[in-house]
C-alpha cells in the first residue's frame, strides 16, 4: 500500500545501522575508569565478596538468609581490616562459570569462593591470587566392603565423579601416569554422583577431600565408607582479586597472613585485647599496633589486626568453627597445619 522510495529507505537503514554500530563500538571502547577498589569499598561502606552457591563448611546461607562458612569468614576478616567492621559485607553467591566475569565486571571486590590457584588462572586471566587460604586435594572414598585400602588398588575400578570439573581431568591424568585403567561414571550434579556411588554403581567416589567428608555424611551408612589416605591432585584454594590494584591485593594477602600469624603466636579472639596490652613478642606488638603504625603502610587502621581477630578469631578458630572435628565435616588440619606443626601454612613475617 505505501510505496516507499527504496533508495532513500536503504540509505536510511544504512545510516541507522552505522549510528548503532558506532554507538556500540563507543560503548565497548569506553575504557575502564580507574578508581581504586579500596576507595570503592570505603565509599560504599561495604565489601562485596563472591562466594560459591553452597559448599558445606565453606559457604551456605542460614535460614535467616545470612551466609556462613570458612569462605564467608575470610570475607568478614577483610571487611574488618578495611572498614573496621566485620559485619559490613555483601555476599554474592556465584556459580563456577560466572565467578571470574563477576570479578572482572567489578560486581564483587574479591572472590573468597573456593577457587583453585592454577598457572592458567593466575597468569592467563587478569587476576591475582592474594594467597592460599586452604590446601585442598583430590581423593577417593570407597566402601569398606570392597577391601580397597590404597589408590594403588584402584586399577580397573569404576569411579563416580562430577562431570565438567578439574576432578575429572585430574583422574585422567593420574590413571594415565600410573598406567592404570578405570571406568569413569560421569554425573552432572555432585548429589547424583554420590547417589550413584551409594547405590553401588561405582567402586569409588572421587572429589575434593574437603567435600568428601561432607559427602560421606550424606550416605545411608556413613561408617561403611572410608576416605583413602592418598591424594592425586593439588587444589590450592585462595582469594582472588583483579590484577593491577596492589593496594587492595596487599590488604587481602596480609589479612590472610595476620590470621595465620595470630595462630602462630597464640593470639585468639578471647585474648587479643590482652595481647595488645602486654605481649613480650615484638612481632605481635608490631602486628597488633601496640608498637609503631604498621597499619598506615597498608592504608588501614593502626589496630586493624585486633579488629580482625576480635571479629573472626585466628585461622585455627575459623577452621575449627566450620571444618574441624566439632563440625559435621570433621576435617583434620592435615597439610593446612602451620609449618611449625609440619603443615604448609607459613605466615610471612610482620616486619
Amino acid at each position: 500500500m505505501f510505496k516507499l522510495n527504496t533508495t532513500t529507505e536503504r540509505r536510511g537503514q544504512g545510516i541507522t545501522a552505522l549510528t548503532f554500530a558506532v554507538f556500540l563500538a563507543a560503548l565497548v571502547a569506553g575504557g575502564e575508569t580507574q578508581a581504586s577498589t579500596v576507595d570503592d569499598i570505603k565509599q560504599r561502606d561495604a565489601l562485596r565478596c563472591g562466594v560459591s552457591q553452597g559448599v558445606p563448611g565453606f559457604s551456605n546461607p542460614t535460614s535467616a538468609g545470612q551466609w556462613e562458612g570458612f569462605d564467608v569468614d575470610i570475607c568478614h576478616a577483610l571487611a574488618a581490616a578495611v572498614l573496621g567492621d566485620a559485619s559490613k559485607i555483601l555476599i554474592k553467591p556465584l556459580s563456577a562459570g560466572s565467578r571470574f566475569d563477576a570479578l572482572a565486571r567489578k560486581e564483587v571486590d574479591v572472590l573468597t569462593r573456593n577457587t583453585s590457584l592454577t598457572y592458567g588462572r593466575d597468569a592467563g586471566l587478569g587476576f591475582t591470587f592474594a594467597g592460599i587460604s586452604f590446601y585442598d586435594s583430590q581423593g577417593f572414598m570407597v566402601n569398606e566392603k570392597t577391601g580397597l585400602t590404597s589408590v594403588g588398588n584402584l586399577n580397573g575400578a569404576s569411579i563416580c565423579v562430577t562431570s565438567d570439573t578439574t576432578s575429572q581431568e585430574n583422574l585422567d591424568d593420574f590413571f594415565r601416569s600410573k598406567g592404570m585403567q578405570y571406568t569413569p561414571v560421569l554425573v552432572e550434579h555432585p548429589d547424583f554422583a554420590l547417589a550413584a556411588y551409594d547405590s553401588g554403581r561405582c567402586d569409588a567416589f572421587s572429589g575434593d577431600l574437603s567435600a568428601l567428608a561432607a559427602h560421606r555424611l550424606k550416605l545411608n551408612v556413613p561408617d561403611e565408607h572410608r576416605i583413602l589416605p592418598e591424594t592425586i591432585a593439588k587444589e590450592p584454594l585462595g582469594p582472588v582479586v583483579r590484577q593491577g590494584d596492589d593496594e587492595w591485593s596487599d590488604i587481602v594477602r596480609w589479612t590472610l597472613m595476620a590470621l595465620l600469624a595470630a595462630e602462630e603466636h597464640g593470639v585468639t579472639q578471647a585474648n587479643v585485647e590482652e595481647k595488645l596490652k602486654n605481649s613480650p613478642n615484638p612481632e605481635v606488638n608490631r602486628m597488633l599496633g601496640a608498637q609503631g603504625d604498621f597499619g598506615s603502610m597498608l592504608g588501614v587502621d593502626k589496630h586493624w589486626v585486633v579488629t580482625v581477630i576480635k571479629a573472626v578469631g585466628n585461622y585455627n578458630e575459623i577452621f575449627d568453627r566450620h571444618l574441624g572435628f566439632n563440625t559435621p565435616l570433621s576435617l583434620s588440619r592435615g597439610i593446612n597445619e602451620l609449618w611449625i606443626n609440619g603443615g604448609l601454612m607459613y605466615p610471612l613475617p610482620f616486619r
Binding site: S59, N60, T62, D191, L217
Partner: protein, 427 residues
C-alpha cells in the same frame, strides 16, 4: 419389559432400559469392555496398590515436620523430612529479600492478583476503571520490589506522561520521533556533551522505599516475578509480531520474520547467557543494568517469538471472509484487527498460548544457570547447610508441587476461557 404401542406421532420419550444406565453400565463399558481392557484394569489396580501406599507413607505417615536437623528427622521417622521445608520456607518464598521489607513483596503480590482480576474476569463490576490500575501496576510493582527515591518515581511519572501525551497528539509517528530524539541525546551525552536529561536530579533523592538489590531476590518470588512479567508482556509483543509477519509491508514483515526465526532458533539458555555476560560488553563500565531486568527482557522476547507463531496459526485459521467483511464494513486496519480478527484468532490460539505460557513459567528455573536463586537455585545453598544435607528429594518434591499447582491453575483457566468464548453452539 412389556411392549406397548403408541399412535403415530404420539410416542413419548422413554428412559433407557435398566443395565444401560448408571454406575454398572459405566464400569462395564469403561473398565471391563474387552479382555485387553480387563487385563489393563487389573494391572492398573495392582500398580496403584504397589505405588500409592509407600508413596503416602513417605510423603505423609512416616514423614517428620518437627525437627531441627536431618538426624533428628531420621530418628523420628523413615519418611520425608519436611522439617527442612519448614525451616527454609520463607527463604524458598522470598530468597534473600530483607525480612523487614518482605511486606513489600506481599503487597506487590496482592496487587498483582488485583491487577490480574479485571483482565481475567470480564464480568467484573467496575472493570473499566480497574483496568487503569492493571495498566499502572507494572510501575507500582517495580518500585515496590526494587524501591526508589522521590526523584526516580517523579521522573518515571513524568516520562510516562510525556509518552502518553505524545501518543495522544501525534500518534505512533510522534513516539518514533521522540525515541529518535532521546537516542540522539543519549548518544551525545555518552560522548561527553553535557546535555543529559536527568529528571530525577530535579527532585529530592530521599528514598521513598529503601532500594533492594535484585541480587537479593530469590525463591518463588523470583519465579512469579519473571513468569508474570514474561507472560503479560510477551502476549502483546507476540501479537504485534504475528501481525507484522502477516503484514503486506515488506520491511515490517522482514524484521518480524527475522526476529521470530532468530529467537526461536536459539535456546533460552543461550539467551540467558547473552543477558548475563555478553550484554556487559555492550554497556559502558560503571553503568549497572540490572541483571534481573535483562533476564526478564530475554524471557519475554523468547516467549513472544513463540506466541507470535501460535497467533499466526490462529490468524491463518480465520476464514478470508472475516477479513473481507471487516474491510467491507469500512473498518481501518487496526480496528478490524482489534474488533474482528484478533478476538477470533486469539480464541483459536488459546490452547497454544497457554501452552507457551506454561512452558515459559517452567523455563524460569533455567535462571539458576546464570546464578539467580530461584527455588531450584536455592536447593544447592540450602543443602550445603550441614543440618540438612542430602534432603534434595524433599526440596524437589516441594518445588514440583508449587509448579504443578501454578501450571494446573493456568491450564484450568484456559479451559474455562475456551468454554466461555465458544459461541458456536450455545443454546
Amino acid at each position: 419389559m412389556s411392549e406397548q404401542s403408541y399412535a403415530p406421532g404420539s410416542h413419548p420419550d422413554l428412559p433407557p432400559p435398566a443395565g444401560q444406565r448408571g454406575a454398572i453400565k459405566w464400569i462395564r463399558e469403561n473398565l471391563f469392555s474387552s479382555p485387553t481392557n480387563i487385563v489393563l484394569t487389573l494391572l492398573s489396580i495392582f500398580l496403584v496398590w504397589k505405588i500409592v501406599p509407600p508413596m503416602l507413607d513417605w510423603l505423609v505417615f512416616d514423614s517428620v515436620v518437627d525437627a531441627n536437623h536431618r538426624n533428628e528427622c531420621r530418628e523420628q521417622g523413615t519418611g520425608a523430612c519436611w522439617a527442612v521445608i519448614r525451616e527454609r520456607f520463607t527463604q524458598l518464598i522470598y530468597g534473600f529479600y530483607p525480612t523487614e521489607h518482605r511486606w513489600r513483596v506481599n503487597l506487590a503480590f496482592v496487587l498483582m492478583l488485583a491487577a490480574l482480576l479485571p483482565l481475567l474476569w470480564d464480568k467484573m463490576p467496575g472493570r473499566k476503571t480497574l483496568l487503569w490500575f492493571s495498566a499502572a501496576f507494572p510501575v507500582v510493582g517495580f518500585f515496590l520490589l526494587w524501591g526508589g527515591t522521590v526523584g526516580e518515581i517523579a521522573a518515571t511519572i513524568i516520562w510516562i506522561a510525556i509518552f502518553a501525551l505524545t501518543f495522544r497528539f501525534f500518534s505512533f509517528a510522534g513516539i518514533g520521533i521522540l525515541l529518535a530524539a532521546l537516542f540522539v541525546i543519549g548518544a551525545l551525552a555518552y560522548f561527553g556533551l553535557p546535555i543529559g536529561i536527568n529528571i530525577a536530579s530535579w527532585f529530592s533523592d530521599a528514598a521513598v522505599l529503601e532500594p533492594v538489590e535484585s541480587a537479593k531476590f530469590g525463591g518463588f518470588m523470583l519465579t512469579v516475578l519473571i513468569g508474570f512479567t514474561g507472560i503479560t508482556l510477551s502476549l502483546p509483543l507476540g501479537i504485534l509480531l504475528a501481525l507484522g509477519r502477516s503484514s503486506n509491508l515488506l520491511i515490517v514483515k522482514a524484521i518480524c520474520v527475522g526476529f521470530i526465526e532468530f529467537i526461536r532458533g536459539v535456546p533460552l539458555i543461550t539467551l540467558l547467557f547473552i543477558a548475563s555476560t555478553l550484554l556487559n560488553y555492550f554497556l559502558p563500565p560503571g553503568t549497572n543494568f540490572d541483571l534481573l531486568l535483562r533476564v526478564m527482557i530475554m524471557v519475554t522476547i523468547f516467549s513472544a517469538a513463540y506466541i507470535a507463531e501460535v497467533v499466526r496459526g490462529g490468524l491463518a485459521a480465520l476464514p478470508k471472509g472475516q477479513f473481507e467483511a471487516a474491510d467491507a464494513t469500512g473498518l481501518t486496519y487496526w480496528e478490524s484487527m482489534r474488533l474482528i480478527v484478533l478476538p477470533q484468532a486469539l480464541k483459536i490460539s488459546i490452547p497454544g498460548i497457554v501452552n507457551t505460557f506454561i512452558g515459559l513459567y517452567k523455563d524460569t528455573t533455567l535462571v539458576l544457570i546464570i546464578g539467580l536463586l530461584d527455588p531450584l537455585g536455592l536447593t544447592q545453598p540450602i543443602l550445603a547447610d550441614s543440618k540438612w544435607q542430602s534432603l534434595s528429594t524433599e526440596l524437589y518434591v516441594f518445588i514440583a508441587l508449587f509448579f504443578f499447582i501454578s501450571c494446573f491453575a493456568m491450564s484450568r483457566y484456559s479451559l474455562y476461557l475456551e468454554r466461555k468464548l465458544d459461541t458456536s453452539h450455545r443454546n
